[in-house]
């Protein structure tokens, strides 16, 4: 395994044609890993945002990504979600190599994720309800199911009374709650939450965190990126990955 890994890293570096195959072989060895990163590097116009990140995340794990502003937390989540392409290295999601995902299979892959964007990314001219329902509509769910499910999620995040409002008329915290509701409405197996409580007061933050933890308990893999270490206080068993200047600084297991 160690050797193969080194080989894979090498392959990743020189962009060898067989690199992808090797990755998948490596994958086979660790059936429980749902997300694997090998030497992932991301450059924006030549400037590094992520540098040689290697990571193995098991199905159902809880990961807390911390680090100062500009460390690369959002970038890490974005490359996992394929909202950005990596510059170097390989990412395997559930055995699929992201570099080899065809654009026609991308939507289906994304529906397995639930992403809370740091800037929310709500459609301004659609109501709260429509924004959340969009995910289920895109997945081709039945209207009656959509209605029930969306209202349920909105109720849990405390936004059911504002379901007719348009995002720009909401307060910062309210927008964040809607973003969280949208991320989980599709019952994703992986939840990526970028600063999901940054605009919330302590009480609301706890509610949202508990809500995400519920999905975690149901078996979802949860990655939360935040600079707010206080969130760790209430976090369950999991790992804390601290990144700084694009590199993994420290990994700690929380018990």
């Amino acid at each position: 395994m160690e050797k193969l890994h080194a080989l894979a890293l090498d392959a990743g570096r020189c962009r060898h044609v067989y690199a992808d195959r090797v990755m998948e072989y490596v994958m086979d060895e660790n059936k429980n890993s749902i997300i694997r990163l090998f030497d992932v590097t991301k450059r924006y116009n030549g400037k590094l945002a992520l540098k040689d990140i290697s990571l193995d995340i098991e199905q159902g794990e809880f990961i807390f990504i911390s680090g100062p502003s500009g460390a690369g937390k959002s970038t890490l989540l974005k490359v996992l979600y394929l909202a950005e392409k990596v510059s170097e290295g390989q990412i395997l999601i559930d055995g699929m190599n992201l570099a080899r995902i065809s654009s026609s299979r991308l939507p289906a892959l994304r529906r397995r994720f639930g992403m809370v964007f740091q800037d929310f990314k709500l459609i301004p001219n659609r109501t709260v309800y429509e924004n959340v329902a969009l995910v289920l509509e895109a997945a081709g769910e039945k209207p009656s199911f959509i209605r029930k499910k969306v209202m349920h999620v909105l109720r849990t995040t405390g936004m059911d009374k504002k379901y007719k409002a348009f995002p720009p008329t909401l307060s910062g915290g309210e927008q964040q709650k809607v973003a969280v509701a949208r991320a989980v409405v599709g019952e994703p197996s992986i939840i990526l939450a970028d600063e999901p409580t940054g605009s919330l007061d302590t009480k609301s933050a706890q509610t949202i965190l508990d809500f995400l933890m519920e999905y975690h308990k149901k078996g979802a893999t949860v990655l939360i990126a935040s600079h707010n270490l206080h969130l760790l206080d209430s976090a369950v068993r999991g790992r804390n990955i601290e990144i700084c200047d694009g590199k993994i600084n420290r990994t700690a297991t929380m018990l």
Partner: protein, 291 residues
Amino acid sequence: MTHFVKKAFADIRSNRFLNLITIITISLSILVVSVFLLFFENASRVIESWNQGGRAMVYLVDTFTMDQLPDLQAKLNGLNTIDEMDFISKDQALEKLKNDMSERSAFLKTLKGNPLPDALEIKVKAYDSFEEIQQIAKDIKAIDLVDDVEYGQGWLGKFLNIFNLFKITGYAMCSLFFLIALFITANTVRLAFYSRKLEVEIMRLVGATETFIKAPFYVEGLLQGLLGGVSGLIILFTTYLMVSSGITRNFASYVYFDIQFLSIKTIFLIIFGSTFLGWFGCYLSLKQILR
């Protein structure tokens, strides 16, 4: 399918301003093209009517006698290029001349005998070019009893050629206007979509398939094109009604023809064209926005 149509209508409602501008632009573009088509169709018709089916005079030799007429007519019919013919004897012709020139007929009174020849007034079958009618005249002239053929050699060539030039210009301008309408509409739709780039981006991020994202836009584009085309034609028709009734009232003395509205065929062509415009604009925009 109904889902996409429903969504398209919802989108049109929620982006009222953008849609309104797009529809207005399409309808104005259609208006330009159809105003020009209207003008062109009517002008063609009027000019065509001036050129009344190619009448010509066949003057006969002095030695012609009435019993040669059936033989001559048979020969002319044998050419297969003549529709109608009327015999005008030299006496009828002089009578007509005297009537026409009533004011200065004094000079005709001085005539001894009748200097005019017998003649046949013929109507030539449809022809397209000056060369064709020249050939027809030549054939007729080759017949024994015919002395000369007069078909307005001087002005007819000029007129036909200018008419052809007018037709060419007309078709060229129609195509040009259509192309311009296409560009302007496509660009307007693109601009309108440009401000919805964010929406499309977010939809993709949330895992919507390309079909799911694109279909409502296409339905919207087709609807915009259809609405734009129909409203453009409605504007044109209203204007037409006002103008044509105004013209017949005030300009009766100027006008020797009715203005007719576009033919049903052209109307359908225009509506089809504008729907295509909407679709095409949508196609271009989506190609640009969606990578």
